[in-house]
């Protein structure tokens, strides 16, 4: 073994370097930020899901001692509504986004109607009770399909039948023919319920304004500070981008919800400028539930068809996707491109047609939530593969296997408008999962137990997903309004310390750790000598942020490319110092030596010192080692895998016990197995949560019934099984690291795994499908309805 092999950092299960600060209570989250002269905002929210605002009287609130100001929607019409950055599918003037505070009409319960700015948060809250609003309630629609029905309440004049966009992918004619002529057709209605992302830290904003320079600073619990800066300046305030600095302090989880621009960013900035004092707003949990973004909310009719021997020949899909009362930052793209283009999953299906009808409803905005579109797709196809297998009386593992895209077919074009799947080999992941669970034995045990009146279910899910969405040119073709490249700057300081600044930013992903592991190996420097800087638009190159499992595949690659440039320059400088030919230089083990003469060398530290002092640079060379890369990948990456779980349901109560959970995930090369496992565990937990516990429920009046954590059942660790995680490794050819992405795979693979197991358990009762979440009550009813 070489010295390098023993000291290699990549591949090690290092603990996250981010964690000591966080777990010892030294984190600095948004609510920890306190500024001189800071005021506090509280928001009066509409109790109605749809109403005309006849009048608002704020005079009593303004008179309360300690209240600095009270603003209503019409005060802030000098700035624009929030932008929608991903108007996918083409818009005909029906793009409606929210204003900072509602003007004239409120369209969901929880929409801001007035904002109080006060000396402290208590006074601000007290003042809300002193504001009188006269509402004229209007009819409400919350269901994404019913919203399109004739006579349904209309949310926006420019959107007849509440339709945001009608979008299609695949081949309608060939699919209609395939369904019409198939030996077997299976139909189902599948609901992917609305969820609330529930980051542990809620969202919020603190804005300050310096009148002498006209510069804003915004602290925000954000997954994408540069994007927020761009959207808030260029689109909302119409000011130069340089007039806003955005800082994300420690971010306590995002799951997508913190990618988007929100009303509070605008009213805090607007009021800070108006008042000349910083303004702070931090949501409480109820506000987070009512007014920050939700996820999913699909109602789908689907038909799968094929031959009696199990081959799938066609898939026809019509989905109603509820996007809420207005369009959130990237909502239309999530419901279309990120969903509809991957809906065939790991299977080669020759005829596919998918229609998505995205609609406005009187509910909170729906946008990307962990997995963003791909969980909806994988749930749909994997549920249907089980329905298909059951219809034919075939084993669900076998049906999957015979329809898999084969290894030699990569790069694979699924015909739905994606760039080809990068690489994949699906059968080994399935085989490994089957072996780990002991599939044949479990089937025998299942049969045995059924005779005793005990109901075991085995659920399989084979999935593929899309990470690191790119290249920008392709994304632009999907309506994406910006770039999807990522940046990284690498600098080597005089002392040999390496500083990486990146547009990616960790909020649980461990970017500081994995990025440092990679740099340490590449440069042969100690891991502790590598610092990763992020999350502040001052001092980091423009970058698009952390979401869509893109940090490593896109941001990490940008960093590696910068490191490679540094190494090239180091070789040129070493050649100069050693009076050798630059082409003969070798960079290895933290040194540069002359090829064939390892003794003729300079350490990286020596070169860094020399370059930083810069007293005698060779001709044409600049001092300092400092390189920046803007990397736009040639394609997305496509992680995949198979999950299998075992459940037992109790007929008496419908109780569901999740007995085992096996995940075999192929995320490409693994930089840090501990972090990958952590991401998978968390992701699977969120998928299980969707299958068993979580549902955001609006009643017919648009009231959120699941508005607190006493009603919205986020599972705790005690409600979840141990995960048996394994991998296959199929490196991605898209990037030099060979990585695919691991942030969302767990969620994308899991909900249907659990549902398939439950429905398998219930098959003796004639159950073919059940909507999520599979509450004990639903299971109990299903078992008793068929008795």
């Amino acid at each position: 073994m070489t010295a390098e092999a023993t000291t290699r950092m990549v591949g090690r299960a290092l603990k996250r370097r981010e964690d000591p600060q966080l777990i010892t209570g030294h984190g600095n989250f948004l609510d920890d930020v306190k500024l001189n002269g800071m005021t506090h905002a509280a928001v009066l929210r509409s109790p109605y899901a749809h109403a005309r605002i006849r009048s608002i009287n704020t005079s009593k609130a303004k008179a309360l001692p300690g209240v600095v100001a009270v603003y209503v929607g019409t005060d802030m019409t000098d700035v624009n509504p929030l932008p929608c950055a991903w108007p996918a599918g083409g818009f005909k003037n029906n793009l409606n986004t929210p204003r900072a505070i509602a003007v004239d009409v409120v369209r969901f319960a929880g929409e801001a109607v007035a904002v109080v700015i006060a000396e402290d948060r208590y006074i601000a809250r007290d003042a809300l009770d002193l504001i009188d609003v006269d509402y004229e309630p209007l009819a409400v629609v919350v269901d994404p399909e019913k919203a399109t029905h004739p006579g349904a309440p209309q949310l926006h004049e420019n959107a007849p039948n509440n339709i945001v966009v009608e979008w299609n992918a695949g081949n309608r004619d060939s699919t209609n023919a395939a369904v019409a002529n198939a030996q077997v057709v299976v139909k189902e209605r599948i609901v992917n319920q609305r969820l609330m992302p529930t980051p542990m830290e809620t969202r919020g904003s603190i804005a300050s304004y310096e009148s002498s320079t006209g510069e804003f600073t915004l602290w925000s619990s954000s997954q994408a500070p540069h994007v927020h800066r761009l959207l808030l300046t260029a689109f909302v305030f119409g000011i130069p981008e340089t007039k806003l600095r955005v800082i994300a302090p420690n971010v306590g989880g995002g799951f997508g919800q913190k990618i988007f621009v929100y009303q509070d960013m605008v009213f805090c900035m607007w009021a800070a400028r108006k008042l000349g004092r910083p303004v702070k707003f931090v949501e409480d949990r109820s506000e987070n539930f009512k007014s920050s973004s939700h996820g999913r909310d699909h109602v789908t009719d689907v038909e799968i068809c094929g031959t009696r021997d199990g081959r799938v020949t066609g898939l026809r899909i019509k989905t109603y996707a509820g996007l809420g009362a207005y369009l959130s930052t990237i909502a239309p793209g999530v419901a279309t491109t990120l969903y509809g283009r991957i809906v065939t999953g790991v299977y080669k299906i020759p005829n596919v047609s998918i229609d998505v009808i995205a609609t406005y409803t009187n509910t909170a905005m729906v946008d990307a939530y962990r997995g963003a579109g791909r969980p909806e797709a994988s749930y749909l196809i994997e549920r249907m593969m089980d329905r298909w297998a059951a219809e034919l009386g075939m084993d669900p593992a076998e049906v999957r296997r015979i329809n898999f895209i084969q290894p030699h077919e990569f790069p694979y074009n699924n015909g739905l408008g994606l760039l080809p799947y990068d690489s994949g080999n699906y059968a080994p992941a399935l085989d490994k999962a089957l072996a780990t669970i002991g599939y044949a034995d479990m089937r025998r045990e299942q049969a045995e137990l059924r005779k005793q009146g005990r109901y075991l279910g085995i659920g399989i899910s084979s999935y593929v997903e899309i990470c690191g969405v790119a290249p920008t040119a392709w994304a632009n073709g999907q309506g994406w309004g910006a770039g999807l490249w990522e940046s990284a700057n690498v600098r080597i300081h005089l002392t040999g310390q390496v500083v990486v600044t990146t547009g990616s930013l960790p909020h649980g992903q461990g970017v500081e750790t994995t990025f440092a592991q990679i740099v340490a190996d590449e440069l042969g420097v100690p891991y502790d000598n590598v610092l990763i800087e992020h999350s502040d638009t001052a001092g980091t190159p423009f970058g698009y942020g952390t979401y869509g499992s893109r940090s490593l595949a896109v941001g990490g690659t940008a960093m590696v490319k910068s490191v490679q440039k540094i190494k090239e320059k180091a070789k040129r400088l070493a050649a100069h110092l050693l009076e050798a030919n630059p082409d003969d230089m070798v960079f290895a083990d933290g040194k540069v030596h002359v090829k064939g003469s390892p003794d003729k060398s300079k350490t990286f530290g020596e070169i860094a010192l020399y370059a930083s002092v810069g007293a005698s640079m060779p001709n044409g060379e600049e001092p300092f080692l400092d390189e920046t890369t803007y990397y736009d990948p040639p394609n997305c990456t496509f992680p995949f895998g198979t999950h299998i779980c075992i459940v037992e349901v109790t007929p008496e109560t419908g109780a569901i016990e999740l007995k085992r959970y096996v995940g075999v995930d192929d995320v490409g090369n693994i930089i840090n197995p501990l972090i990958v496992h952590g991401q998978l565990h968390g992701g699977i937990a969120q998928g299980i949560a969707q299958a068993l516990f979580e549902q955001a429920v609006y009643d017919d009046n648009g009231q959120l019934l699941s508005g607190t954590l006493m009603d919205y059942a986020v599972p705790t660790a005690a409600m979840l099984p141990n995960y048996e995680i394994d991998h296959t490794v199929t490196p991605s050819p898209v990037n030099p690291l060979g990585v695919k992405g691991a942030g969302e795979a767990g969620t994308i693979g899991s909900a249907q795994c659990v549902m398939n197991a439950i429905i398998d358990a219930l098959s003796p009762f004639g159950v073919q499908h059940m909507q999520m979440p599979a509450t004990p009550e639903r299971v109990w009813k299903a078992m008793h309805a068929h008795k």
């Binding site: 007290d126 009770d129 954590l709």
Partner: protein
Amino acid sequence: MIPAAFQYVKANSVAEALVLLQQHGEDAKLVAGGHSLLPAMKLRLSQPTVLIDIAAANDLKGIAVNGNTLSIGAGETYHAIASSAAVKRTCAIVADCVGQIGDIQVRNAGTIGGALAHADPAADLTAVFLALGGSVSVASASGTRQIAADDMFVAMLTTALDSGEIITTVHVPVIGAGQGASYAKLKHPASRYAIVGVAAMVSMSGGKITSARVAVTGAGPQAVRQTATEQALIGTDGGDAASKAAASKAGDDMDYLGDIHASEEYRRAMVKVYAARAISAAVAQARG
């Protein structure tokens, strides 16, 4: 989630608390663990102007066995009760029940007195208290009195306590030879409160049940005894068939609540299932 303004005072004894209650009158509220009161205040469903904190009052602490009675200070926390050797030895159902309440934070703060005074429709202890036929000692400016379990719960979130009264001690019987008591609970997935909770206590003699008390919580607006079930048990051997037959009468004559996790229909059915479980476990214990 920001409460209205209030004044906070700490009472170090029941006597101090009574004086403070008199001083501040209707606007004052006692706070013990705060795990029911503070959430209500944060939602501004409750807006007392004075909070009298009795969590540190020493004379509300203490767990003692006197003859056939286990007496628990109203200020004892769930955690203290669940880990008390005396409780586990003499009336294990109470330790078992409070050990299932909420999560560790709730159990470290919530008190037995607070739970009974608050009478949440989904509280666990209310059913156990009813099934055991316990009682509470209550103090007020005008003296002390006892309230029997059967007289305690009047309506949703309403008890027989008067506004100036403090529960000082909770009494339950020691479970003796030939007796058994058990609590069975279907947990709410979000809050861990009872969707359905059934407590049963039986006394047996010569292989037959001589007395039985069964109470249901969670399913409806308040905890209620199930007299039809109790009657059906008496005189039987408490075996599977008898327990199930008696349990099938549970919940027929009571009001129900429903929510997004469990409808009235489901709760009705689960009352019977959990009644059977609680009765069987109580019988098994009574048989020794």
